[in-house]
């Protein structure tokens, strides 16, 4: 009967590993395809860490199951023997993970610097301010005068427009609780803290529509705090959209189109 547990835990381990490989074939590990410049480095780091933890997982599970199987046998005669530890073994299993951690800390440094260090923020004007609130993203563009809160601003909800290969610099703020601005396809994520202004920057290499999700549990409607990043092919396309949105926003007669996403 005790050996049944070995089978149960073994099945769970095989199931987990199986799902991992099944997901790979199914949809590329449930990751949307990377479309940002920094995403290449981040994906690489992801794989390095996945290999390290994956190998460790398999080794640990094999040992675990082997012990379960061996000592779960009820026909084994005698009582279990307690030992008081093994210094060599303990030193090794402390030193090896420590070395791995140091390796990861040093190895990831370049990507982190590129993605998050203020000194590495591109020297381009602010593209938009993202104001998070329960449960929406209010996105305000400074417009041609590059100043927020002037009459040529455009504000839209849950839609962020940009163009291909642009250095997209965002200013992130929260108006109520913790939120996290996450663009999975760009592999970029930044927490937003009420009262703090934070910056985020990335470059998208392919035109298209990508999801923006809130990645910090922010209340009951967290799951639907979703937006779209719309990347235009060229800056001219973006400008065309901007003028159209500005025109719609300045409507002083009946609105030609009520559709915020365009006709």
């Amino acid at each position: 009967m005790h050996r049944l547990w070995t089978l149960l835990f073994g099945a769970a381990a095989v199931f987990a590993v199986g799902i991992f490989f099944w997901a790979a074939g199914k949809s590329g590990y449930w990751f949307p395809e990377n479309v940002s410049v920094i995403g290449v480095d981040i994906d690489h780091l992801y794989w390095v860490i996945t290999w390290i933890t994956g190998i460790t997982f398999v080794v640990v599970m094999v040992l675990f199951l082997w012990f379960l199987w061996k000592y779960g046998d009820e026909r084994r005669p005698g009582k279990a023997v307690f030992t008081h530890g093994n210094h060599t073994l303990e030193t090794v299993w402390t030193a090896v993970p420590a070395a791995i951690l140091v390796f990861i800390a040093v190895y990831q440094y370049g990507a982190w610097k590129e993605a998050k260090f203020r000194s590495h923020m591109p020297d381009s004007p602010l593209h938009a301010r993202v104001l998070a609130g329960q449960f929406e993203w209010r996105i305000r563009y400074p417009g041609p005068d590059r100043e927020l809160y002037t009459d040529d601003d455009v504000e839209q909800v849950n839609l962020l427009h940009a163009w291909k290969d642009q250095d997209i610099v965002l200013q992130l703020e929260s108006r109520d609780v913790l939120h996290s601005f996450f663009v999975p396809a760009a592999r970029m994520k930044q927490d937003m803290v009420p009262g703090m202004k934070q910056n985020m920057w990335f470059q998208i290499t392919r035109a298209g529509e990508y999801e923006i999700a809130c990645a910090e549990l922010c209340g009951w409607g967290h799951y639907k705090m979703k937006g779209h990043l719309i990347v235009h092919e060229t800056k001219a396309d973006f400008d065309r959209w901007y003028q159209e949105a500005l025109g719609r926003q300045n409507a002083d007669q009946r609105d030609p189109s009520i559709w915020e996403r365009g006709e």
Binding site: W5, E136, M225, Q249
Partner: protein, 376 residues
């Protein structure tokens, strides 16, 4: 030890089975037939004399007329007259149950499970009106008004934007909101007539009573439908485009804003921050509904007044005009309409009768000139 193993296995098995049952499709559908439109609490409060029997008869007639919850219908070709398709209303209902119900409530009474936590409260559709419409405040809104709210949300309230939903879904949700608004208006009118005529006190068989209620309902609904059809020709337009925000125009607007006849600043405050002496007091005053002494916003919107609900979320809070956003929309035409017709169901009155279009535009220009003072 044997017993423990057995127990462990039983627990694992039970959890697995529960998970499979809970996750299996079809359960949500299986539950919905129990759902029904409940009667308006205001009807119950104002016409308590109907008694439970009378309420049941009214609810039964409403279900016969507008269909059960699972199959809402606008009778007498009203859907077609308004350009809404019955399929869209049905689809809208299914989406509503999924996305809107927890705030706006199963019957559209603005009383879903989340509602008590929200300031301002989610809109109740029972009164047949919404706050931010493009039509005169005595008329119902139009389809486009609902579509705009769905896409933009209502800024800085709990109403989010649904801009990333498909156009078909948005059309369906807007259609169903109209169904709820029309159903709500009809219910109120019929309750009023039944009370006025004393129908429910008469000696009638249940069939006769049902027949009588349905006749009134058809009559009242006819008027409601007509008002919705008419509203489509009543959308407020500015006869002249917005003039340049010249210094003169802004100065004229400011003078109007502070003027004792318009009283803009009496509610919005001289600084435009929405805490003028008419609506806000830091000194204790007797509450409009309960009579208890309190401080803060003095008045309630119609939804609060009707429910006699002296609760947070129903206060009339004039807009803070310096925060850079307006709940009814940021466009010049939105502000024009807001000044022209006020905020429906709230204390912001309509100025369209007193001010000329030029004066309204001057006010808009002034309001724009202060709109970012509080955020820059």
């Amino acid at each position: 030890m044997k017993a423990l193993d057995g127990l462990g296995l039983a627990v694992v098995a039970a959890l697995t089975v529960t998970g499979i049952v809970l996750m299996s499709p079809g359960r949500a559908e299986a539950r919905t037939p129990d759902v029904r439109y409940t009667l308006d609490p205001v009807t119950r409060k104002d016409y308590a004399g109907f008694g439970e029997e009378g309420f049941a008869a009214l609810e039964q007639a409403l279900t016969a007329f507008f269909g059960p919850h699972a199959q809402p219908t606008l009778p007498d070709g009203a859907a077609e007259a308004l350009g809404l398709s019955p399929e869209r209303i049905q689809h809208g209902r299914n989406l509503y149950v999924e996305k809107c119900m927890h705030c706006h409530g199963m019957s559209g009474g603005g009383d879903g499970p989340t509602a008590p936590f929200l300031v301002p409260r989610p809109r109740s559709f029972r009164m047949g009106k919404i706050k931010f419409a493009s039509t005169p405040r005595t008329s119902p809104p139009v389809h486009e008004d609902l579509l705009r709210v769905l896409q933009r949300g209502v800024a800085y309230t709990a109403m989010p934007s649904f801009v990333n939903e498909s156009r078909e879904d948005l059309e369906a949700l807007a259609s169903y909101a109209q169904f709820l608004l029309m159903r709500g208006s009809t219910e109120r009118l019929v309750a009023f007539v039944l009370d006025d005529e004393g129908t429910l006190e008469e000696e009638l068989t249940p069939e006769q009573r049902q027949q009588a209620i349905l006749e009134y309902m058809a009559e009242e609904f006819d008027g409601v439908r007509q008002s919705w059809v008419d509203a489509r020709d009543q959308v407020i337009e500015a006869p002249t485009p917005r003039p340049q925000a010249s210094e003169e125009s802004v100065a004229r607007g400011k003078a109007l804003f502070l003027d004792a006849t318009t009283e803009c600043s009496a509610c919005h405050g001289e600084d435009g921050k929405g805490q003028g002496p008419n609506v806000y007091s830091a000194e204790p005053f007797p509450d409009e509904i309960t009579g208890e002494l309190r401080t803060g916003y003095k008045k309630y919107d119609e939804w609060g007044t009707e429910l006699k609900a002296a609760e947070r979320g129903y206060e009339a809070r004039p807009a803070d005009l310096t925060r850079g956003f307006y709940r009814g929309g940021d466009r010049p035409i939105d502000l024009y309409r807001r000044i022209h017709q006020g905020v429906n169901g709230n204390i912001m009155p309509a100025f369209g009768g007193n001010l000329t279009p030029e004066q309204i535009w001057d006010l808009v220009n002034y309001i724009y000139s202060i709109r970012f003072l509080g955020v820059r």
